[in-house]
Subunit: 168 residues, 2 copies
Amino acid sequence: MTNESAQKAPERPEAALKLEEFLPYRLNVCANLVSQALSRIYADRYKIGVPEWRVLVTLGQFGMMTAKGIGGHSCMHKTKVSRAVALLERRKLVVRRANRADLREAFLSLTPAGRDIYNELAPIALDFAQKLLESVDAADRAALDRALSKLTERSSQITDIANSRGGR
Amino acid sequence: MTNESAQKAPERPEAALKLEEFLPYRLNVCANLVSQALSRIYADRYKIGVPEWRVLVTLGQFGMMTAKGIGGHSCMHKTKVSRAVALLERRKLVVRRANRADLREAFLSLTPAGRDIYNELAPIALDFAQKLLESVDAADRAALDRALSKLTERSSQITDIANSRGGR
DNA sequence: TGACGATGGTTTCGATTGCAACTAAACAGG
DNA sequence: CCTGTTTAGTTGCAATCGAAACCATCGTCA
């Protein structure tokens, strides 16, 4: 066997790329399925999607916040936040209060109706997550927690570096 | 404290829903970041997106397959597969060969050019996944593996049940 | 004060998505 | 055979998304 042919060999069999074992793929499939299962809880009941759900939960958690704050905390693009808030505002689930000290931003918070929905959904969502976690061996749960944190941190790091390189 | 007020209490503080600790949310964020980081490897270089990437990898792995087969193996909607294949076909990375025994379907496979790209990308992708995994404590990796499998299984189960109920 | 860059948020626009309707071919079962 | 049903794959359409442009306001510095 020459060097040439060794280089051209498709791949070492033991290193073959199998999609179903490939971490990024598995994460994506898992996250989508979980997301879809969860959204059954609120989608039909209240006709809202994931972005609206996140806004609702964030405001439920913090009480009052700017759109920027919501975006930062829920990892959503500002246009997504803007549109989700607009929808919730139309439905009278969220109110906008001007910030006298800075008229560019506005403070958002749940209306009583929004709070009602939040109070109804939050325990159901927690229960859902709990049920989901119960399918994972108790001994593995902490590891999953750590792993998700590490993977999230590492990949956002990679993206940042690549972005700063590309943006030169 | 009456029963009434206990029922109306927003939530027990210890059970409060915190988005940043909520498993479905964390999975989604993690998967998106990882996916985005990975796509840097192939997106710019070859101007393809996730669906095309998955078709490429699936065909690289199995050699020859129908669109249905690809969809099943890569968890993609048939329209996504159809469009991804159409794009790759236009780029001469994939060929379609009629199945004499059943003219509805067609066998798809990589062209030599497609195989070249696969052979270039696969090791880089594997390396990426490896690097990513290295950020996770070695002791936690097997647990992550099991947890992802369980969560995937459980949530697709939930969705299936809900779907069959709704589809009555 | 007044000009300029930065910032919060909205809007416009092109691209991607998934559902539903469709086409064409296979496979009943009489 | 014909007829109705199922299946592989494509296409039309409406909804969603994110990048970039945009608008209004703020902070800075001369």
